[in-house]
């Protein structure tokens, strides 16, 4: 993810272009000049002179926003079984709601099948295949949100954002 550096007001035209292109940008504003203001989260400005650290800090945030428009916000699960992520949502039936609770508590970490079974069926698991089936169903329901449940063989499962894998290990 790249962030454009734009001098203001010297490069006014370029700022307009970069804005139109929807690129992230940091505007450098010398002393005594009013900064250009916009509500666009992909734009920030900094007053010169500034330390390299401060410039880097603002650049990092802009990079995060540029990247994270899609990635990296954490899904939210409410008490009504609604799972929200990036403006979209899906509703989860009771069992899957409970399973999702544990997976989110340990987001991006492995959750054992045992822990999942206990969470999904506090009164004891009905059959030995039930968990697997519900994992499949949960996977399908999560797909539209870009969430993926990975299998960690003989260890358990792990919830994360679905990345576009460079190559499937085939």
């Amino acid at each position: 993810m790249h962030v454009e550096l734009v001098r203001w007001p010297a490069e006014e035209e370029r700022l307009a272009e970069v804005r139109a292109a929807g690129l992230a940008r940091l505007v450098l504003v010398p002393e005594g000049v009013a900064p250009p203001l916009t509500a666009d989260p992909l734009e920030d400005w900094i007053r010169l002179p500034a330390t390299d650290d401060d410039v880097r800090a603002r650049l990092r945030v802009l990079e995060d926003r540029a990247r994270g428009a899609v990635e990296d916000d954490r899904p939210e699960l409410d008490e009504n079984g609604l799972l929200r992520l990036g403006g979209q949502w899906v509703s989860l039936p009771p069992v899957e709601h409970r399973l999702m609770g544990v997976l989110l508590d340990r987001y991006r970490a492995v959750v054992s099948r045992d822990a999942l079974a206990r969470a999904g069926w506090p009164d004891g698991i009905p059959g030995r295949n039930v968990l697997d089936v519900h994992i499949v169903r949960l996977r399908r329901r999560l797909a539209p949100l870009g969430l993926v449940i990975r299998t960690v063989r003989s260890r358990g499962y792990l919830l994360e954002q679905g990345r576009v894998e460079a190559a499937t290990g085939s």
Copy 2:
């Protein structure tokens, strides 16, 4: 729209609270201290000492963002049963007016069938299917405005703007 001013690192706890509450905030960072970084567009920081103009500039941007985050054109319902949205309007009969009231109070959140029943029929619900029927009728009336009532099975209903919903994979 209000923006919280938070001193850093003195008011670290308060920053956490304000973040959790989703309020817009400007973090004041003294010289020589690393600013707290987040991709959240509702947070910004400024290096002290700073001019009043620079502070005001950052406040204005945050106010704009806070306003934009909330104002995402919400439908308006008046006491005469007129529901307006985006220049258009429809009129709602008494029962549907009351139902719509609760749905709007909890816009985009789940409202239980029970809560709807109590709102629509304060003196007790006449039959057990009445609510379903009125939901259907309300749906038809809302359609021209682009509003949609989603079913959240065994939990209730939810009112939102009719976007193209990610369908469940068949």
